[in-house]
């Protein structure tokens, strides 16, 4: 039996979703599947396109799991465009001359950005905002520009404006209509949004009709001329004036298309040719096309079912949306403009904190028809559930949008009020019952539920709701989520931190007596030691807490595989004087230490006997060095590029800032090691975005990124705030560091900590920037105390005769460990392999 030939034209989000769904449902042995992908890469997440500017990796956006197409034997023609369809012969010809035959054809050709017919719009300074290639071009141009404008004040336009702002150029938005986001917001909502956006420095111009773009200007490269006679000088222009269905191929082969564009489809997603389906933005259903991803995913599902002979119909789509534009929370549900006959509205306006909420209800006041939320979208999920599931409104619907102090219904709708069939994730059509099933099957973390059900992996707007359902289901099962430190403390690190600080506990013994049991172990001892050090900044080796420390912290060096230690003096920001280098060289020669530049821009000396450490360090300290804390869970170093002092591209003094920050935070004990990076310009030579704290210079200040790391699971840092002056930057950093020290679990790097913070980077911004928890003053104070009590642990140790005794290898002999043996290698030395050592140490184990 010959296989049925299935061809998909278009490998965007919807085209790929179709294939995923098909692979899941169909017997693939019966099909030969070919997909045309015009772009140079397979499907990627266009919804989160702007995030590309912060991580710059196309892979991060990719929707295709590695090896997915190969595994299912799907032939993807990357970079190949379908040119013609011959419906009589059922064959497609591509631009390379290839002919691909089909039995069933699915068109997922998407849309193209529509650019108004303005004279001068073909200039090389004009862009659209749709593909990764567009973004690369915009970024390259932004680098040589002072200002830029987005034409179009809709959802995507404001998203683009946010990207321009983040790229560090003066940003303008031009809208033809009198309000922003006219599609989703009513007039007052649009007005509130405008105020908020202007307050962060974006220039909004509404009611402007662009006539012509002329090359040249007094200060900028181009001048825009408007119908009202006004002008705006601007370096470059991004058009975001709407999209149009890509129906060129359909027209070429004579398929029926809609009057306003788009390939006409019926409820089964069939076009006028029953062997051809159309899905996503290219399709027009009842003379409507949908520019959101959720309806496209729905159509993909309908098309898969119909091709496989199952019943399924497309019945329109919910166009509600919740998003954050330029830092402003915006939500729009259903009939946001109140166009339903006889509907009634409730409005809440708070000009003090710039919040506007409006709900539109049916005449009898029982059903929610629509909502507009600006500045506060906390009630979005609840409101959406009222409309989607047709839940009857409470007697006083205004209680849904009032703040708690004004009599709001607290606690929200509650997931228990939702029917089992309630749609939780509209992108992947996941119901409440699907999530409950996944939890019952043992997927008990938010990550596992997302992976199992697909919920929350589209736009991500439903993640808080998924979390609620997950927690409710776990509670039903009687599962208690435990993060106890260990068998000796039934508290998390965070809880212990608070107990220690609030009760002023100074020793492990005291804590164990009050809140723990037993003797303690290798997990709780160093964790508590670290908390005590961060809270009270006492010398980490004080005799009370001596037994808590890992050997690294006791002997102030990193133990190597043979029991010797490394010696790494601090070289803040990677700076070292020639004179300092000479001392390092002298010490290394005298004690025959292996010498290497470490990954942290400093010099490491390896192979030091424990008993030699005090002598080595006293020489280094005499020459002005101090400990680098390379052995500690603490700030290791600040990596810097040379910056504006020497580099011809640098725009700020990155070394100066790096040295200052390293000296500010050195020695502070943190839940895990921390690394910083400071780059003097956007070329990012310090790789700051791969660090716990990454700072990148802009023309007007510093952009602050947090919670990235290299290592085993590399993670890009996320933007916390931009264009900061140094004073504000340091203030934010103080708060960030202390908040992390206070709240992270044991041995949790900042990236993992952020992933576990519910609300993620947005929540962190609210805490650090907006002082949501009201603790910032306290955090700054605690940091100031910690900084004031810094001491070089080696200097202190050397001045204490008693603690120096501990460095001898034997308590009863001056001999050194004769099992430490070295072998020459590349003009230095390395630890000898076991077989190279004296036979006495070849102790055979009972089979180890």
């Amino acid at each position: 039996m010959s296989k049925q030939k299935l061809v998909i034209i278009g490998n965007g989000m919807v085209g790929h979703r179709f294939i995923e769904d098909f692979v899941e449902k169909a017997d693939l042995d019966k099909f030969e599947i070919t997909a045309f992908c015009e772009e140079p890469r397979v499907a990627y997440d266009r919804v989160h396109l702007s995030s590309y500017f912060s991580h710059h990796t196309a892979d991060e956006l990719s929707l295709v799991k590695e090896g997915f197409y190969e595994k299912h034997n799907i032939n993807v023609l990357i970079g190949e465009r379908a040119l013609t369809i011959n419906r009589q012969e059922k064959v497609i010809h591509s631009q390379t001359g290839r002919a691909v035959y089909y039995d069933k054809l699915v068109m997922a050709t998407g849309s193209y950005p529509w650019v108004p017919d303005i004279k001068g719009n073909e200039s090389k300074d004009c862009f659209v905002y749709r593909t990764i290639e567009d973004l690369n071009a915009i970024e390259a141009t932004a680098r040589r520009s002072k200002n830029g404008v987005v034409v179009g004040g809709g959802l995507l336009g404001l998203e683009a404006a946010g990207a321009l702002k983040a790229l560090g150029v003066e940003t303008h938005v031009i809208e033809f209509a009198p309000v922003l986001m006219a599609e989703q917001l009513d007039q007052q909502g649009g007005q509130m949004l405008r105020q908020k956006i202007e307050s962060i420095g974006v220039n909004v111009h509404t009611g402007k009709n662009t006539k012509e773009i002329v090359v040249g200007g007094e200060k900028s490269r181009n001048t825009m001329q408007f119908a009202d006679g006004s002008e705006l000088e601007i370096d470059f222009i991004v058009f975001s004036t709407g999209i149009r269905p890509q129906d060129k191929l359909a027209k070429q082969c004579g398929l029926a298309t809609a009057r306003r564009g788009g390939i006409s489809i019926n409820n089964q997603c069939e076009t006028s040719d029953p062997d051809i389906y159309a899905i996503g933005e290219c399709a027009s259903w009842n003379e409507k096309f949908f520019g959101l991803v959720a309806p496209g995913y729905n159509m993909a599902k309908v098309a898969v079912d119909n091709i496989l002979g199952r019943d399924n119909e497309f019945s329109g789509a919910d166009m509600s949306a919740k998003l954050k534009l330029l830092g402003v929370d915006v939500g729009s549900i259903g009939d946001a403009n109140g166009r339903t006959p006889d509907c009634k509205s409730y409005v809440y306006l708070d000009e003090n904190s710039s919040v506007y909420k409006r709900i539109i209800v049916s005449q009898d006041g029982k059903r929610l028809l629509g909502a507009v939320l600006v500045g506060d979208t906390e009630s979005y999920s609840d409101l959406l559930q009222y409309t989607l599931n047709d839940i009857e409104l409470p007697k006083h619907p205004d209680s849904l949008i009032l703040p708690a102090h004004a009599g709001a219904k607290t606690g929200g709708l509650g997931v228990d009020a939702l029917p089992e069939t309630a749609q939780v994730c509209s992108c992947f059509d996941v119901k409440k019952s699907d999530i409950a099933d996944a939890v019952a099957a043992g997927h008990t973390t938010i990550g596992a539920v997302k992976m199992e059900t697909g919920a929350g992996t589209g736009c991500g707007g439903c993640v808080p709701l998924i979390t609620q359902v997950l927690n409710a289901e776990l509670a039903k099962q009687g599962v208690e989520v435990k993060n106890h430190l260990c068998e000796h403390f039934e508290y998390s690190r965070q809880e212990l931190f608070h107990l220690i600080r609030i009760e002023g506990i100074k020793t492990f013994k005291e804590l164990l007596e009050k809140y723990g049991k037993g003797y303690g172990c290798e997990v709780c001892k160093p964790t508590v030691g670290s908390i005590l050090a961060s809270c009270w900044s006492d010398y980490i080796l004080s005799s009370d807490n001596n037994g808590l420390q890992d050997t690294n912290d006791i002997f102030l060096g990193n133990m190597q595989k043979d029991g010797t230690y490394s010696v790494i003096p601090r070289m803040a920001g990677g700076e070292v004087t020639p004179k300092g280098l000479a001392v390092v060289a002298k010490v290394a020669e005298q004690y025959e230490l292996y010498t290497k530049i470490t990954g942290a821009q400093r010099i490491g000396l390896f192979g030091a006997h424990k008993s030699d450490l005090p002598d080595i360090w006293s020489q280094l300290i005499e020459a002005g060095f101090e400990t680098g804390q390379a052995y500690a869970k603490a700030l290791r170093m600040v990596k810097t590029c040379v910056g504006s002092t020497w580099c011809r591209f640098g725009v700020q003094d990155s070394v100066g800032l790096g040295v200052e920050l390293e000296n500010r935070y050195k020695g502070l004990r943190t839940p895990h090691k921390m690394k910083f990076g400071v780059s003097g310009c956007t070329r990012e030579c310090a790789e700051a975005q791969g660090k716990d704290v990454g700072i990148i210079a802009t023309d007007s200040g510093w952009n602050l990124y947090v919670c990235g790391n290299g290592g085993m699971k590399p993670q890009h840092a996320e933007l916390l705030a931009s264009d900061l002056d140094k004073q504000t930057l340091i203030k934010y950093l103080d708060r960030f560091m202390m908040f992390y020290v206070r709240t992270a679990d044991k041995l949790t790097r900042t990236s993992v900590w952020l992933q576990n913070l519910s609300g993620g980077i947005d929540y962190l911004k609210e805490v650090i920037v907006d002082n949501k928890l009201g603790i910032n003053e306290q955090l700054e104070k605690e940091m100031a105390q910690a900084i004031a009590s810094y001491q070089c642990e080696w200097t202190t140790t050397l001045s204490d005769q008693e603690s120096l005794q501990r460095f001898a290898h034997f308590i009863n002999s001056d001999l050194q460990d004769d099992n430490v043996v070295f072998t020459p290698e590349r003009d230095q030395k390395r630890p000898a392999f076991i077989e190279e050592k004296a036979p006495t140490y070849n102790i055979s184990l009972e089979e180890a």
Partner: protein, 108 residues
């Protein structure tokens, strides 16, 4: 016939830490879990890494018994019999130890 060998003063070992002593040519790790007169002794060599480091490990309690966690890769060895919690096939030599007149004594 071996006998008790005097090694060092008890007060030279900080409570909750260990030291290494050279006893009859052997490297012996001696631990003092608390400020009381209780000490333990095992061979100082970590059998996994074959490095003389156990005296620098953290003393810990699991299954109601005391162990030392190797400072290299954290395998735990029982302070009484030298057995390894992670791998029952591996062990270190354990020695008798006591405190007499303020001095630590080991019996090999």
């Amino acid at each position: 016939m071996s006998s008790w060998i005097r090694v060092c003063e008890l007060k030279s070992i900080f409570p909750a830490t260990g030291v290494c002593a050279l006893v009859d040519g052997k490297q012996v790790a001696i631990f003092r879990p608390s400020d009381e007169e209780q000490v333990y002794a095992v061979n100082n060599m970590d059998p996994f890494a074959r490095a003389n480091v156990l005296s620098r490990g953290l003393i810990c309690q699991h299954q109601e018994q005391l162990w030392v966690a190797s400072p290299l890769k954290k395998q735990r060895f029982n302070l009484l019999d030298g057995s390894c919690l992670e791998n029952s096939e591996v062990s270190v030599e354990a020695y008798k130890a006591r405190v007499t007149d303020g001095f630590v004594e080991v019996h090999l």
